[in-house]
Structure formats: structure tokens, C-alpha cells
């Protein structure tokens, strides 16, 4: 557990907080997932849609074996390939959603924290309205009304993250809006735009960015939930959809638990990594009183 610590300790004599071994383990897993999500078609995988019927083994589903590492589902499709393909949509949606949420919510939050007045009142009310739906209910409502593509599902989940992100950005901005360095900048005649970009944003961005990983975990789980209910991206393989497929009838779950359990494992490890790494970063940057 101490391999990381020695190299960093030489330069600073003051004991600094460390990110720790667990953090880097999580980052490695996330990097691996990102790599898989980006390059799935180039990897030497079995086709996720072919049916590998094996007459010697009888009727599918087949249990995990050398040929099919994670087994096959009841249409004899390779669960390993499908699980890796599932990373694509799940991670893309999670990443785009939280990016959209940070861009929109962050901008609105910083502006309303800086200018106060009517912008603040209107945006605060909109945030409260958005937050008075339990998020899964709002997600179900919206995804049911639209054509469910990668873009629209990401946008819906992005919309859900606007309110929490915006509130945090507003709170963080409020902390700095009346500080001396902002007043000083205003005294020497800096315009609002310059103050926001040069003085406020760097201070707000650091604590906010450490929350991005936690936010992405929430978005990945939300996408999984939607997919599980049959309301995520229509054409395509997602972890939530794979888990649903293996558990829709108790007979399937009883006879072939691997269909659900391998995607569950991948989803769990990914969410765990995002949470853990995000939590370590939050402590590292000493962000208090902020939870998504």
C-alpha cells in the first residue's frame, strides 16, 4: 500500500495529504473502461449480436467457459462481448450528461451567484421546481416522450444534473463574490466578464471539478436505471438493459445468473471507482458541505 508514497514524499517535507493507492487503482479501472468504451469495435471480440449455437451443448444459455468467458444468454450471444459493448453507451451517456449539466448548470449558477437580483431569483425557482420531482420520475417522464437516441438520453440526464450542479456553483460563487481580490479587481476598473472569468471561475472550478466524478457516477446509475426499465437508448447494448435481460423471468435468473451478474459486476466496479476516486479528490481539495 505504500509504493506510491515514497516518491512524492521527497520534495515536500511537510506531510501532505495523499490520494492513496485505492485512488490510483480506481483511476486505472476507469481508464481501462474508457479505453474499452472508445475502442470496442477495434478490439478482438466476438460479435455481440451473433448467435453462437453449439449443438453439442444443447439449448442455450451456455455457462461460462473458455469459449465464452462470461457465458451466453438465451439467444446464445456472447455475454463478455456484450458487456464490453455495453460500456460504450453507459459511459458515453454518463460523461455527456454530466458535461452538459456542468456547462449549463455551472454557467447559470455562477451568473446567479455573481449578479444576484432577478437572475438569481428566477434560476433558484427553476432549480427548486426541477428538484421537486424525484429525479428518476422526471427522467422517466421525459424519456418516454422523446425519440430515445444517445444524444437525447444524455440531454435528459444532463437536464437532471443542472439543478444540483447549479446550486453548488451558485453557493461556491457566493463565497467569493465579495472577497477582497474581487473588490480590488472591480476597483481598478475590471469589467464583470473579466472578473467572472479571471477571478471567480478559477476558484469555483477546482472544488466543482472534484465533484464531476461523483456526478458522473450518479448519471451512470441513472442511465442504468432507465435502461433497466426499458427507457434508455433504443437501439444498442447497455449495462442496464443486459441486467434486465438476465432477470426478467425468475427462470432465466435461476438457470443462468451469469447473464445478469457479469454486467452487474462491471457496473458496480465502475460506479464504485467513480465514487471512491471522487470522494478522495473531494477530501484532497478539502471541499466541505457539498454533496450531490
Amino acid at each position: 500500500m505504500t509504493t506510491e508514497n515514497n516518491s512524492a514524499g521527497d520534495e515536500t517535507t511537510v506531510a501532505r495529504k495523499k490520494l492513496g493507492f485505492g485512488f490510483w487503482l480506481c483511476v486505472t479501472w476507469l481508464a481501462l473502461m474508457a479505453f474499452i468504451a472508445l475502442f470496442t469495435p477495434l478490439l478482438p471480440l466476438k460479435s455481440p449480436t451473433s448467435n453462437f449455437i453449439d449443438s453439442a451443448q444443447g439449448r442455450p444459455p451456455y455457462a461460462p467457459s473458455w469459449k465464452h468467458w462470461f457465458g451466453t444468454d438465451k439467444d446464445a450471444r456472447d455475454v463478455f462481448a456484450r458487456t464490453l459493448y455495453g460500456a460504450r453507451i453507459s459511459l458515453t451517456v454518463g460523461f455527456s450528461a454530466i458535461t452538459a449539466g456542468f456547462l449549463i448548470g455551472g454557467t447559470v449558477g455562477v451568473l446567479s451567484g455573481y449578479f444576484r437580483g432577478w437572475i438569481d431569483r428566477v434560476s433558484s425557482f427553476v432549480f427548486v421546481v426541477l428538484l421537486s420531482f424525484p429525479s428518476l420520475v422526471l427522467a422517466i417522464l421525459l424519456t418516454s416522450l422523446i425519440e430515445r437516441s444517445l444524444l437525447t438520453v444524455s440531454l435528459v440526464l444532463g437536464l437532471l444534473s443542472i439543478a444540483p450542479v447549479g446550486r453548488l456553483a451558485r453557493a461556491a460563487t457566493l463565497q467569493y463574490a465579495d472577497r477582497e481580490f474581487v473588490l480590488a479587481a472591480r476597483q481598478i476598473g475590471a469589467k464583470d466578464r473579466r472578473i467572472i472569468v479571471k477571478e471567480i471561475l478559477p476558484n469555483v472550478a477546482i472544488p466543482m471539478s472534484s465533484l464531476a466524478l461523483l456526478g458522473m457516477a450518479v448519471a451512470v446509475v441513472a442511465e442504468g436505471g432507465l435502461a433497466f426499465l426499458g427507457l434508455s437508448v433504443e437501439k444498442g447494448i447497455t449495462w442496464g438493459g443486459l441486467i434486465q435481460l438476465g432477470s426478467d423471468a425468475s427462470k432465466t435468473l435461476e438457470k443462468a445468473p451469469w447473464i445478469s451478474f457479469f454486467p452487474i459486476m462491471m457496473l458496480f466496479l465502475t460506479v464504485l471507482s467513480l465514487n471512491f476516486a471522487g470522494d478522495r479528490l473531494r477530501t484532497y481539495f478539502d471541499v466541505k458541505e457539498m454533496t450531490l
Binding site: 427507457l231 441486467i243 432477470s247 435468473l253
Partner: protein, 318 residues
């Protein structure tokens, strides 16, 4: 007094905004006529279809402008008439569907909440009193695992191990069973919702108890020679429950979200699973009614939490 009036007014305003948003989204983004009649709605050349369209439009007031329809719906809704379901017969009425299924969801959410509270308080007390030691570290790791397990995945895992492998728990919910066995059938669904929430509560309460334990009055209690258990239960717990109460209130939304998934996996005909079914069937009066009930209960619970807060700490009122 003024504080309470303001808060209630804000809550009412909020619910109006929520209902307008939902009503508007369902009417503008969705196509109610198509949802009622199916493909017939698009068949405008056939005289029979035109007649059916006319009848349906009048019956569901679709020939009126949107604001008028909203006003009609709202005045019906506040009087407890949630309209008719979108089907050729319009039976059963939405109010009937809701009154049959809402009690199950309320029971489920209440069970889950009770479970989360009764697990998290002792768990937090034990870990806080041993903060930093092995037991505490293991528990922190466990809490992390629980929080990272999405509830639909947890549902599948619990169902596999406790219902299928071990056979301790029933597989599905049977609406006609006597209430005692129905309650028993709800244990696993409630665990699905409550376990991750218990972990969230425990993490929060543990931190707060640790902070309380460092205060002077605890030191005084210890110098008086009181036992550890007594200090924890009598002196440390109550002042630490402050943010716990808020989070318990705020988490009701997460619990309702969880009940949607849990009801779907364990086949409980509550309003959560009905929401999913109606959404997939485009039965929009049912969707609207459920969304409004969920949002209202969410807003009201948060209002009550705020009021409870003012009773504990009167400074908030100003």
C-alpha cells in the same frame, strides 16, 4: 406565523409550476389523440375515422385550447377526480387505479425508510465510538460498496440469493394474500430500497456523532463517570440528529425512485410500477396523476421537515 404562510404559499406555487410543466410536456411533446385512438388518429381521409376522432376529441376535451384543458384538469384534480384512463372504454377511472395501488407504495416506502433509520442509527453509534479502528474502517468500506450498488442491481442480487437460491423469501407479490403475508412479501423489496439509503444515513450520522463526541459536555459527562453506552445514547445522539432529520426528509425522493425499480423487479402493483407501465402505454392521465402525487408528497414532506426544524431551532424562522 408569517414564515409558515410564506413557506406554504411557495409550496403551492411550486406544485402549480410542476403541474403546468408536466401537463405541458405530455400535451406538447406527446400526442394525446394518437394515444387514445392509436393509428386511427392519423387516418384523416376515412370518414369513419374522422367521426371517431371527433367523438374522442369531445370526450377528452381535446378540441379546447391547452390553457382551458389545463384549468379543467386542475379543478378536477384538486377535487380528487383524476380523469379517465386512455383506453377505448376509459375504465377504470384513474382515481380508482391510484387508490388501489398507492397504499402498497406507501407501505413499501415507509418500510424502507424505517429499516434505513433503525439500521443506520445503531450502526453509526457503534462506528463513531470506535472511529478510526478496524471495525470502523471495514464498515466505511462496506458503506461505500452499498452506495455504489445501483438499486436495480441490488434487487436482482437479493432476489437471486434470498428468493431463488436460499428460498427464504417469496418470489413475487400476491395482491389477494392476507395482509401478513403481503407484508412478508414486501421485506425484500423494502431491503432493496433501504440498504443503500441506510449506508448514506450512517455515513452522515457517524460524522456528526464524532463531532459531538469532541465537545466539552461529553468530556464533563465522562469525568462524572458515566458509562460509554449512556454517554452515546443519552448525551451524544440527540444533538447529532440535526442534519440527519433533514437528510431523512430529502431522501424520500430517492426512496420513491427506488420503489419504481423495486416494484418492477418484484412485481408489486404499486404506483411506481404503474408509472412505468403507463409511460410505456402512453396512458397520460395516469402518468400525470402519479407524477403529481409523487411531487406533492415530496414537497409536503420537505415542508414538514422545515417546520420540524423551526421547532428544534427557532432561529431558522427569521
Amino acid at each position: 406565523m408569517r414564515y409558515y404562510v410564506q413557506r406554504v404559499a411557495l409550496a403551492v406555487l411550486l406544485l402549480l409550476a410542476v403541474s403546468m410543466l408536466t401537463f405541458g410536456a405530455l400535451n406538447v411533446l406527446g400526442d394525446p389523440l394518437f394515444n387514445i385512438l392509436g393509428p386511427v388518429a392519423g387516418d384523416v381521409n376515412n370518414p369513419d375515422s374522422i367521426k371517431m376522432i371527433e367523438v374522442a376529441k369531445r370526450e377528452f376535451s381535446l378540441d379546447r385550447p391547452l390553457p382551458v384543458r389545463y384549468a379543467i384538469w386542475l379543478s378536477d384534480f384538486v377535487r380528487g377526480d383524476f380523469g379517465v384512463t386512455f383506453s377505448s372504454t376509459g375504465q377504470p377511472p384513474v382515481s380508482g387505479v391510484i387508490s388501489e395501488r398507492l397504499p402498497r407504495t406507501v407501505t413499501l416506502v415507509a418500510l424502507a425508510q424505517m429499516f434505513a433509520i433503525f439500521v443506520s442509527i445503531p450502526w453509526a453509534l457503534i462506528t463513531a465510538s470506535r472511529a478510526g479502528r478496524v471495525a470502523d474502517r471495514i464498515s466505511t468500506l462496506n458503506a461505500f460498496f452499498l452506495v455504489a450498488m445501483p438499486n436495480f442491481a441490488l434487487a436482482v442480487i437479493l432476489k437471486y440469493f434470498f428468493s431463488i437460491r436460499l428460498g427464504w423469501m417469496p418470489l413475487t407479490f400476491v395482491a389477494d394474500d392476507p395482509w401478513r403475508s403481503r407484508l412478508f412479501q414486501m421485506i425484500l423489496p423494502a431491503l432493496t430500497i433501504g440498504l443503500p439509503v441506510a449506508a448514506v444515513y450512517q455515513r452522515l450520522l457517524r460524522t456528526d456523532i464524532i463531532t459531538t463526541l469532541q465537545q466539552d459536555f461529553i468530556l464533563l459527562a465522562r469525568t462524572k463517570g458515566l458509562s460509554r453506552t449512556r454517554i452515546l445514547l443519552v448525551h451524544a445522539l440527540r444533538p447529532s440528529l440535526f442534519s440527519f432529520i433533514t437528510v431523512v426528509g430529502l431522501n424520500t425522493g430517492a426512496l420513491i425512485g427506488g420503489s419504481i425499480v423495486s416494484e418492477t423487479v418484484f412485481r408489486i402493483p404499486g404506483i411506481g410500477s404503474t408509472l412505468v407501465e403507463s409511460v410505456l402505454r402512453n396512458d397520460f392521465p395516469v402518468v400525470l396523476a402519479i407524477v403529481m402525487i409523487v411531487a406533492s408528497s415530496f414537497v409536503v414532506i420537505n415542508l414538514l421537515v422545515d417546520f420540524a426544524y423551526t421547532l428544534i431551532d427557532p432561529r431558522v424562522r427569521r
